[in-house]
Symmetry: D2
Subunit: 406 residues, 4 copies
């Protein structure tokens, strides 16, 4: 394999991308760079596919299956901690405030390894078929894949045979994890606006305090997972934002918070969403406030790997990775990857690879401090070790593509 | 009295000021206008007194006491409801966000009536002494008066005999309320930053959720007034702002909220501040989080009217207002007015006047719905009726000045 | 005055009563003893006045006003701490459980001093009129006075001229405190039964957990005093009992708690009661539980001293106690004393005397630790120092009686 | 099979036992009846085995394995709803209070079917070996099995080959569920005593209110499962009892509540127990209260079926029940059954059978209302339908015994 030859390119590209993250649907520099590299490699390139910055590169080589390979491009409004020389210092406006921007979910490793895999595959002459490389925007908003559907349908009216994607996770660099069936959760996004009655901070009796009300809701929402979801059913209810008030001595008229819900089964999802509604509106009655406004943001679908294709890929991974390949536990994280094959109703496989020092990971597992010692996605110190992370990701993508190409 | 002659000027000025509110320490247009009007009237005018936009006008007329008359100039980051033709449409940046700006505390009535009172006093020739008109910035931040102290000391090295100030309140227009002793509360401002551990919204077990933690603090802070302050001791603990998080599916690393505390006695104040510290840091231990950071913002002093001067003024008000003059209940609102006479250790008197339709107020009192039906200071519909509010405020200021001038 | 002569009797009686407390409406031994002592003194004695154990002793001496003197007889379900030789070791059944019983509200001092005062008055020959000594049961249940009304009306169809009562309080022994107007609060008693759905402790998702629900109510009730009652209006909302469940691994079907409310004004009382109802029923909606049952227990009336009679008594106290007599702050405690004069619509005066070491009290006041260092009524170490407490209480009752007798 | 012949006996016995439940370690009538029936059948009977009421019946028939068959005997302090003619009206004292007693966990079906199975087995002559029938007390206290260990060791010094037990569950009557590996959770019991400072209900500022404190703990404990346990790790934290206070107007000095914890893995168990300790003691700091007392009650072990024996039994169940036999989901309920084979370190298998109308169960599953419509163990309406519940339980026990006998 020619991975050695392309390793410097992949590592340089990773460092460059890590240092220049861009927020969802604003991946202009990133998209231009992806297109430029695809053109260098001689692929048929389409930019602006979908509503924003999607890039598609097509490599056609004779008869054979059409295989879609996907990397996502967006960073997050997270300020990176000082740890590596290629640290991001980017900032951008996020919900009316200036925030640091960081590839805190590792999409930079996805892009670098997909560009690397394309170079390796281009070097190889023992396959035929069509490779469709998709660089997708706005995975974090769960609307980038859906936004590309119309453009993809136009580019590939004949459909695809399989879609393949991967994600870096907390875990030992060098490891690959794959399972058939459900692998990632459904995600729901609720925006709650609580309507109180504002007034002077010294006269609470003339107001309905929306901060006490919304704080009570946050506390009470904890009972859903604790008391209403069966212990054997997985669910998460996270309040990720809470904003109210402009000044300490003014009781504001309203408060606003956002909830993220993760579930693995539709009945559990329905029960959780109903409980949120019940708790939020019930708390308004407790406070004597008008009903709160509950808006629904983008929802992410379940990610359910095709069982047959997963078995075929697992066999290929066994050969490529040996003991470093293991089954994946279903994750409560969510993805919109499945919206890409959903364009044509095609099957798909999605897998995971570790990104952290294997010694650190082993030690943390032994001590039972994995959750504390190994950075989790979206945290400001989620900075994978470069190797063997990038080698593994590149090899996994090449292996997967070849498992389905002729 | 020549009030009739100046009434149109006062009303026009009020409408103009109401339509052009400015935030604390940014009262540039307002200060320039105050100075222009003082100059028109022939006073000795000093601009930029203190750290920002303070204006002082001095009217000297022979021997006699020096009497300081004060109006405050700043508006609030509140978006006005549509109700009057002279509604404010101003906006400004407040804590990183754009907000509407409004004279939601009635400082426009203070300025208009003080300018009117100066015109009435200038017309009258039966007094002697020195009038010092002070237009103060940043009352809402409780630092405008302190900022003017150095400038005032330089302008008036000989000191003053008395300082006089007034404030519009929910209550019937036409009424004036005055009492000796404590009339406004001490105010403390605490800024709490809660340090959790951020991470992905679907993996709460790897994080310390600062939003659940800060919300629990808000809920638990309610027990201070409910359980730790004696029912006969007045205290208020208001959480006026709460900000955390940038995105629904990221558990942020920290949360921040601001507390406003009002008390009337030093032992109660100390107990409340100690309880806040205990609850905030105890909750951090509950959550397994590091200690929170508690910063102290500007504190407002108690406002304690001089007993003798209050008695003298009460007699003058009885004559001027008859039954419309009544004793004032101590208020939990706070002021930095007392920092002006504190420049020289001079005595002071501070009183209140109502600003709302007397029929509405009477009806609300009867129904027991005063708190609901009569707008409170800082609310987006705190818009006094123009008359008899402005007449009353102007007359009160003229009467008060004359009570202490020779 | 012949107090010295009766002091040993009073102290012995106090020790005896303290060692033998009885719960409300079960004051059988105590009532028999009171009656026995009244008979010894030659009074006309009536036992079983009212629905339980009330005792009335009448001393007629010629023309003159009829003055009712009252002591209450009941102890509390509180287990006394080991501190004095005459400590109570009594126990009784209270709400299905065995509890210690203690004179933790000092009614023993009321009885001892009233018996003492009657002996002193009997010794004196310079007064005329009728003394009605009332030993009342069940003050703690706020139904003992009401229970005696019918009996009293029958005994004294001509009515009384004045009713007099007193209570020992945390404060320096030797001090007496009296004011006209409102002196004690109204009290309301609510019993809340929360209806959840029981089940096995390991399957919360099949239940509606009434303990989490009732605990949330308790937490949320704190916002009434903290946010809904104006700081200048006194109110207390105490949850005094909370009982649910029989076994750790059974989620019970219901929970039950009791609330005590103290207020000084009818509009505040109405607002607080409405807020309790709103919060309790709103929380049931939050939990998806059926509406809770809210029962109203006995309510205590306001205690409002007659202004004229209070002024007359204050003059007498000034003479008797000098500087040790001071005005009383209105107390949030409640009493049913006023239900006795309410039998005939007669005026009344109710005052307080301290019961603790003056040096301890002074020191605690100086340090600001009064609330911590001086035991409060109903606590298991509310054990007054015998002297000058009993002398003061006896003298106060004699002085008061003589102030109204001819 | 001779089940038909014994069915009336089994049903009569069930009705009798259901109508006469007894609390844990007080199963005197029940134990006597079990022994009487074993004697009727001609078994070697041992009563009072262990610390209380355990009964052992031994049936020896030639060479062959020794198979222990277990039924538990205790009822619960639950008051039965009126639903069946053989309803329990028993009452007993439980933690100082009188409570109804009910077989709300279905142990009556265990006993009736084990007695039935022994009769069926006694009728059959095509097996050899030794059957040890164990009627165990105090399963609900998780100490009955441990209490029998010493007695069992003395009776059966040579050990046993296998132990077999079963439990009725919410589910369709006629169904049997069995899996190898972990089938029931570990259980921990914590008793928390919160130490506040008592006082009069109208003077909260002089107290540390233990009810508000304990209620806050209950609310905050919900965050453990909601935020600290990974969604893929099963855990339950139930507060099953909460008791504080004797009277509405006394703030008590302490409060007491009991927690039940269910977990399936030791690291999760340790994290949950540590979080409880942290939250409880942290809340004491929040309240300024002394540290709470946390006692540990009886803990229940994990129930982990022997894989080989489970596979053998599954094959036998497939033959006996066909499609009505299915794998068991691990349950968060706990058992002390495994403490019986632990006497000798012997393997064991434990399985479940349904007890409710199959049409009702099917409909509830379809509607997604299983949790609501099918009664759960320990609830006051957990009353299995008699058939095919008892037939299934008897057949399962006979089948299981024969699968391991020669």
């Amino acid at each position: 394999m020619t991975l050695e030859r392309h390793r410097p390119f992949i590592e340089d590209l990773y460092r460059e991308l890590h240092a220049h993250p861009e927020l969802s649907n604003r991946e202009h520099r990133t998209a231009a760079r992806m297109a430029e590299l695809l053109r260098e490699l001689g692929l048929e390139v389409h930019e602006g596919v979908g509503e924003s910055t999607g890039v598609v590169g097509i490599l056609r080589r004779g008869e054979g299956p059409t295989v879609l390979l996907r990397a996502d491009m967006d960073g997050l409004p997270v300020t990176e901690v000082e740890q590596v020389p290629y640290r991001s210092t980017a900032t951008d406006e996020w919900e009316g405030q200036v925030s640091g921007v960081m590839h805190a979910c590792g999409h930079d490793t996805h892009m670098a390894s997909l560009q690397g895999a394309l170079r390796v595959l281009a070097d190889q002459d023992d396959w035929s078929g069509t490779i469709v490389a998709v660089f997708q925007p706005a995975e974090e908003l769960i609307n980038g894949a859906r936004g590309m559907q119309e453009g993809l349908r136009a580019l590939l009216p004949g459909g695809i045979d399989i879609a393949l994607g991967q994600h870096v996770m907390p875990g030992a660099a060098g490891e690959v994890r794959l399972s058939g069936g459900p692998v990632m959760a459904a995600s729901d996004h609720l925006i709650v606006t609580v309507h109180g009655r504002g007034g002077h901070g010294s006269q609470p009796e003339k107001t309905i305090d929306p901060i006490v009300l919304a704080a009570s809701m946050v506390v009470r929402l904890q009972t859903i997972v604790a008391r209403e979801v069966a212990p054997s059913d997985r669910a998460v209810v996270t309040v990720g934002t809470f904003h109210a008030g402009t000044k300490q001595n003014i009781i504001p008229g309203s408060a606003r918070f956002e909830i993220n819900v993760r579930t693995f089964e539709e009945p559990v999802r329905r029960r959780v969403l109903a409980a949120i509604e019940r708790i939020v509106q019930g708390e308004c009655q407790v406070a004597g406030a008008p009903a709160a406004t509950i808006e629904h943001g983008d929802a992410a679908p379940l990610t359910i790997n095709d069982e047959d294709a997963s078995a075929r890929l697992a066999a290929a991974f066994d050969e490529a990775f040996g003991a470093a390949h293991a089954p994946a536990e279903p994750l409560l994280g969510s993805e919109d990857f499945s919206d890409l094959p959903a364009t044509w109703g095609a099957p798909y496989v999605y897998w995971f690879y570790g990104g952290f020092d294997p010694a650190l990971v082993a030690q943390a597992r032994e001590r039972g401090t994995f959750d504390v010692d190994v950075p989790s996605n979206h945290s400001p110190n989620f900075i994978p070790v470069m190797q063997p992370t990038l080698d593994t990701a590149t090899t996994a993508m090449v292996t997967a593509a070849r498992a389905f190409l002729a």
